[in-house]
């Protein structure tokens, strides 16, 4: 999933202060799972903003709405009936959601309420860790299911480097050395030979090095 964290309230307040009617839009997908911008967080942020403005003696109208998916024009269309009653939109979705709204409702200012962080997996309740960089050319099949692009601090393709120590990375003793994990995993699978094969320099064009990426599926297009 795409992970996100709420922005500091001071930044959000600065964005919306000039407006009286705010449409606060959450998303039912990734940001709900990582508890950053789902219906619950929308309610909490609306309440916090109301407290702030009431303290200033100002009442602002905050309309809460949580869409099924903010990165999908089909669901963003649902805001049509609300948009005229809002001076500005505050989105709690990832950057994709914010941009989908901005593209559809060009006449209204759209502000993000969260910082989009990374593509991650849930390690345990309340902890999310980066697991994928979306490099566009997946190596997991040859690295024992552990990604060196996302999990090695240097993105080494033939690791580990000299900074590994007792299975930990030199940048932080809490960060595991991806290449130690890869080696242990390959060994457990009896695939040590694969480790000895030198990987050539990776083509980072599919990773975004060739400009913004796009997927076109003609079989699905209408």
């Amino acid at each position: 999933m795409i992970t996100a964290e709420q922005k500091p309230l001071s930044e959000i307040i600065e964005y919306i202060s000039p407006y009286d009617r705010i449409l606060l839009v959450g998303c039912n997908e990734c940001v709900t799972v990582c508890a950053a911008g789902g219906r619950k967080e929308v309610g909490l942020l609306a309440s916090a903003l109301t407290l702030h403005f009431l303290k200033q003696g100002r009442t602002i109208d905050i309309k809460e709405i949580t869409l099924e998916r903010q990165c999908d024009p089909e669901y963003v269309e649902e805001l049509v009936s609300e948009i005229d009653r809002a001076d500005a939109i505050l989105s709690m979705a990832c950057g994709c959601g914010v941009q989908t709204i901005a593209e559809r409702y060009k006449e209204k200012p759209v502000f993000p309420a969260v910082n989009t962080k990374f593509m991650g997996a849930s390690e345990s309740q309340g902890i999310w860790v980066e697991r994928c960089r979306g490099c566009g050319d997946c190596l997991l099949g040859i690295t024992g299911g552990i990604c060196p692009v996302a999990r090695c601090s240097k993105q080494l393709l033939n690791g580990p480097c000299g900074g590994t120590s007792n299975g930990k990375c030199e940048i932080d003793p809490d960060v595991e050395c991806a290449w130690c994990l890869i080696w242990e995993r390959l060994k457990a699978l009896g695939m040590e030979k694969r480790y000895e094969e030198i990987m050539e320099a990776k083509d980072f064009r599919p990773a975004g090095g060739g400009g913004p990426r796009k997927i076109i599926r003609e079989d699905l297009s209408l």
């Binding site: 500091p8 407290l51 303290k55 003696g57």
Partner: protein
């Protein structure tokens, strides 16, 4: 502000604090009428939004009273409630509100006297802090209007 009587909302767990409040009553131990109790099946049911809404609707203080550490009827609802209270306190800090307006308390069903004492202490603390910032604004407005 001398006559200020705060409105306090207490989310009380059915298995401990609510029963403790009941026991305080049975023992004829009085506690401030400012404290309005909301019974919950477990403090784990209390979410940050409930505390925020109470403040938004004019409560001067809110506290969550759950079981003693390790004694939760549902394993760890009281610990979760503690985290949520901390979460709200962080929010309040960011908003420039006094974080003491929100608190977590732990007690057992037999601690009727403790319930009454903490209710009194919390009420006194809120009295010292004064009305919630929202009410303060309304008071200032009405005073200006009279003046």
């Amino acid at each position: 502000m001398e006559n200020f009587e705060p409105e306090i909302v207490a989310f009380c767990c059915h298995y401990c604090a609510y029963t403790a409040a009941d026991m305080a009553g049975s023992k004829r131990i009085s506690y401030p009428p400012n404290v309005k109790i909301i019974r919950v099946p477990c403090t784990g049911k209390v979410d940050a939004i409930h505390i925020m809404k109470a403040l938004e609707k004019g409560a001067d203080g809110v506290y969550v009273a759950g079981c003693l550490e390790g004694d939760c009827h549902f394993k760890n609802g009281n610990t979760r409630a503690g985290y949520r209270v901390e979460h709200v306190q962080k929010y309040l800090e960011e908003l420039g509100w006094e974080t003491e307006r929100v608190a977590m308390m732990n007690m057992s069903a037999g601690m009727g006297e403790f319930f009454a004492r903490t209710a009194l202490e919390f009420t006194q603390k809120i009295k010292q802090l004064g009305p919630s910032p929202i009410k303060r604004i309304n008071i200032d407005k009405s005073q200006k209007a009279v003046g």
